[in-house]
């Protein structure tokens, strides 16, 4: 199963990280590796290595809907 990588910038607010992780879990994603870092008082960045490339488009669409997300890009 080919994996893929997403890079996310999000607002650093109560619940932001959990909300992102919940969507990935609920939409069938499997996290292989993950890195999180605050980049300012307001924002954080995340990079994910996720299993199953077939889910990539749906995963991006579902994550993009979140109000926490500032930017999301496919780094595969």
């Amino acid at each position: 199963m080919e994996h893929y990588q997403l890079a996310i910038t999000a607002y650093d607010r109560p619940g932001s990280l959990e909300r992102i992780l919940r969507v990935i879990r609920h939409r069938g994603g499997k996290i292989l590796t993950m890195n999180m870092q605050t980049i300012s008082a307001e924002q954080l960045t995340l990079s994910f290595n996720l299993a199953d490339r077939n889910l990539k488009s749906q995963m991006i669409n579902q994550l993009t809907k979140l109000a926490d997300i500032v930017a999301i890009s496919d780094e595969s």
């Binding site: 991006i60 109000a67 999301i72």
Partner: protein, 569 residues
Amino acid sequence: MTTGAQWIVQSLKQYGVTTVFGYPGGQIMPLYDALYDGGLEHILCRHEQGAAMAAIGYTRSTGKTGVCIATSGPGATNLLTGLADAFIDSVPIIAITGQVPTTLIGTDAFQEVDTLGMSFACTKHSFLVTDPKSLPDILEQAFIIANSGRPGPVLIDVPKDIQLAREDYQQCLSRSTYCSTSQNQKSNQLTPSSAILQTIQTIQIAKTMIQQAHKPILYIGGGVIMGDAVSELRDFVCHTGIPSVATLKGLGALNIDDPFYLGMVGMHGFKSANLAVQDCDLLIAIGVRFDDRVTGNLNEFARHAKVIHIDIDSAEIGKLKQAHLNIQADAKAVLPMLEQNINIDEWRQFVLALKAQYPVRYDHPGEGIYAPLLLKQLSDKILANKKVATVVTTDVGQHQMWAAQHMLFDKPNMFISSSGLGTMGFGLPAAVGTQVARPNDCVICISGDGSFMMNIQELTTIKRKKLPVKIVLIDNARLGMVRQWQQLFFNERYSETDLSDNPDFLVLASAFDIPGIMITQKKQVLPALEQLLSSEGPFLLHVKIDAMDNVWPLVPPGAANHNMLESVK
């Protein structure tokens, strides 16, 4: 300088809110103190779930943003089912919950629960206010998020100390950029394969597909109603003459006088509607989710058709069904651009023949009441009365499907039902919210004996506010839909679906000063409906039906929609 609670009340008024639904408790007391003389109408429901569902009814019947309020802990947990209902049905409501003071969060304090954590799966977005200065921006953002794009519920969890904090809140409004990144800005950072190009070229391709189709069908969902695109849809249908079907949540979007409107599609849809969809060569899906209850076996759904999918939510595009053309846009804007004259006379005649071949039949043996006929007669009376607008709410189960099949809804927001979540207990509080929102209109709650018991405490709200809600209780002394499935798919092993020890519903209603009558015979139906509709105040029509009456047709789980069951084998 005002308190946070006073600012919340002021802000709600500023955002056009006039009425809120809620239930007080310890950690929300400062807000209730502000509500005491704050100039908002507060409707005391008797369970927080009722408050959330009343807010949904209020919103769905008016288009205004509904607001519900609860305390921390059990108050907040009781809201969740209502929020989940609003989430899946894309209803913009705002939930405000009390929370223990910020200094106690995380200490397992009395009535503390992680409301924010619980909210993630059932809200479009949620906030925990940790700094009073952020309160104005959060309130503003909550209304924007709830109503933008695909609408949905937003929760704001407000600790008690924040409610009590005195600030010059006007000065705190920063027009912050929190959550203001537009979907388009985000989409532009996606790879071209997942970004949806919104161009004139796409519209032109859609027009060509429609022009070239011989057997097109419009598949219309609740998104058309939520997106205020009903008049554009009806104009489009007038111009093109394309036959149409609706989902449960799409009922009311299409013109019921259109001879090529086939009614509801799906598991309990009409045979003619399902067969037409299965036979079409172009499926134009607007504001729909390709829900499993609509599509049946997805691989078999409209299997010969090319698909155009129009939706405001990019995540719905390609989620279940891969369309040949995706248009991520507002249907209100797109539909006028697609209007054209097309020649599909042969298909239209075929659709008329299908409708004639599979008419709805109301002949039913015996003297007992046949619920589909009763609901059709009620519907006829509602449509004949041009003086009063009527809104129907339902609970969930067989009565809901019978109402969807046999009642006609000629306006959007005339039929309010828990569609996506299928929440028993929805009908009565939704009727409360609807009647509060539309005091001069007739509101009818159609319920079943199982569902009615789930939020029956809201009869008190009807009594207190003197709401003239009419209740039609279809009572088969069973948990009917589950019983039907047990009969068909579980070898008639009727596990826990016998409700024949129900209370005397008329006595129960009278305890809340609600008069009513019970009927058991066909011949009693028409006079009883007259009595129901002519009553000045609330009224309960208790309708006893046969326990073994079933909803037909039924597409068995996993089957294709052309394989409908129409009787017990």
